[in-house]
Subunit: 321 residues, 2 copies
């Protein structure tokens, strides 16, 4: 009998990542297709079904030897029905029946969860989580996303909105406006966008010299990576930006840990690639604000799976069903 | 066959509450004994065993028709081993093997959990939780305790320190000192002690008149209840105290809900008896700081079981084992 495969799909706004995995979470083959958001999302499931069929044929693997498809979607999801409540950024219709449509197109069982939850499951299974049954994953990218695992299961919350860590109020009053309609959310501070905003803000108010100013003058543009690079060169403004980001991020993570005491908090996403220049001050602030017993038992680690976390965690949904 | 009973025990610093319940969570008989903390806690399990045996005899119920004993203990607990890590306030020795000792004394199966977790389970089963599988219980008493239920199970955390909601950093810098060694913890603000501290502080700084001043002059003493009573009489200082407490409590609860999106947050403990004079402004701040989808799906309610929550939740541990 041929080995059974799992299919993991990570549905992104512009690109959809797909992978075939075995039951040990080893990736057998992975590839990407563009996400076709036109026609209110109606083309998405057809394209995914076609891509899977073509690839199975190419690799000469029978569909009968596929256990099912797990998929991460960019929005709050009802796990049981596989309905995506809303995808404001993608322009699909609300309450999109993603599971039902993909099952019809593929004739395979499908389980859908939120993409940040899938990333958390991936890191739990094969990444920095090392199998930890209590894990919080925070993705610091263009925005800030989160996935909470307690007792080995994703916490969905009563309306699928658990893990909205990016929208924790970090600056209760006087913070920057957030896409969600509130102000001062963690996302306005600890995302790549937030870091650049704080840097530009500090540059306006501060002295007109230093590496950050030079980069900005030369390229008319600044990235979060520029800020970390400048901080490594001991640029004063960049150092202050990291101080501010670390204070808020460390405080928020400590307060999450005071509530959940997870074994690990795993930081993923592009910003986490900054490494110790960000991680060290975040850990220092965390230690300051965490309950003493929590401070010594909850660790903060950098994600290890990179872009594969989503497809691996999505495949876990099928393995674990 | 006689009906099987559950035994729920709520071990407090001065009083131990006991109850016999049926499998529907109905209390058949409840009573209290003093907690004997002398001899580093060694007398506790003997006294509980004696009290149970005497009462079973009195009610003519055979021990064979008891399913087991669930117990809430005042400290972080390892659920599997039933070891209480530490009980700083009670003077027992660290890593106290409460489950093993009580099983030896009673010849009944015993499950131990933290007391705040038991209160949360009680409210989930029979109280304000109405069976909600995702529930956060916050006890506002002399201190502030918490219990987190996700997917129907208590979240213990990696070292039993989940639910330390009282030690969430509410005022990161410049807050009042807390028993835990940090400053600005929620407990320094939203506990009965914290509310009185804030009131006395505002009285010192403010004008020397009003109902709170009068009460304080007459009795040389002020309670959290006095502050709520005065606020109901539209005392200015008391109003400002509630404003401050509600701001921080509402913010912390919103940030917990942004992480967990529970169906309900249940407020228990003596302070919660203040009712709408506290609940309404807390709800207003919660709505302000919660992620929009969370704000409309997570509700805040007052606990309904009072002092029985602990024994009912402890009994649940046995029913649900």
């Amino acid at each position: 009998m041929a080995e059974k495969w799992l299919i993991g799909v990570d549905l992104g706004g512009t690109t959809t990542k797909l992978a075939f995995l075995n039951f040990y979470g080893e990736i057998i083959h992975k590839w990407e297709i563009p996400t076709d958001n036109s026609n209110y999302g109606k083309n998405i499931t057809i394209n995914i079904a076609k891509a899977i069929d073509l690839k199975l044929e190419e690799l000469d693997h029978s569909k009968e030897n596929v256990a099912g498809i797990g998929m991460g979607a960019p929005g709050p999801v009802d796990l049981a029905s596989g309905v995506v409540y809303n995808t404001v950024n993608l322009g699909w219709k609300d309450n999109y029946p993603l599971k039902d449509l993909l099952e019809v197109e593929t004739s395979l069982p499908v389980i859908i969860d939120n993409d940040a939850n899938c990333a958390a499951l991936g890191e739990m299974w094969k990444g920095a989580g090392d199998g930890a049954k209590d894990l919080v994953c925070v993705t610091l990218g263009t925005g800030v996303g989160g996935g909470v695992i307690a007792n080995g299961d994703i916490v969905q919350g009563t309306s699928g909105a658990a893990g909205e860590i990016g929208h924790i109020a970090a600056i209760p009053e006087g913070g920057a406006p957030c896409n969600c309609g509130k102000t001062g959310c963690l996302e306005t501070i600890a995302s790549a966008t937030g870091i650049v905003r704080i840097a530009l803000d500090k540059m306006k108010k501060g002295q007109d010299e230093g590496m950050l100013h030079e980069l900005h003058r030369n390229y008319g543009f600044l990235s979060a990576k520029d800020v970390f690079d400048a901080a490594r060169q001991e640029d004063d403004t960049a150092g202050k930006v990291i101080e501010e980001v670390s204070f808020h991020l460390g405080l928020v993570l400590a307060n999450i840990a005071n509530t959940l005491n997870p074994e690990k908090i795993v930081l993923g996403g592009g910003v986490s690639k900054a490494g110790s220049i960000l991680l060290d001050p975040v850990k220092a602030q965390f230690a300051r604000f965490a309950f003493p017993r929590v401070a010594v038992s909850t660790s903060i680690d950098i994600a290890t799976l990179g872009n594969d976390a989503g497809v691996i965690g999505a495949a876990w949904l099928i393995k674990n069903k």
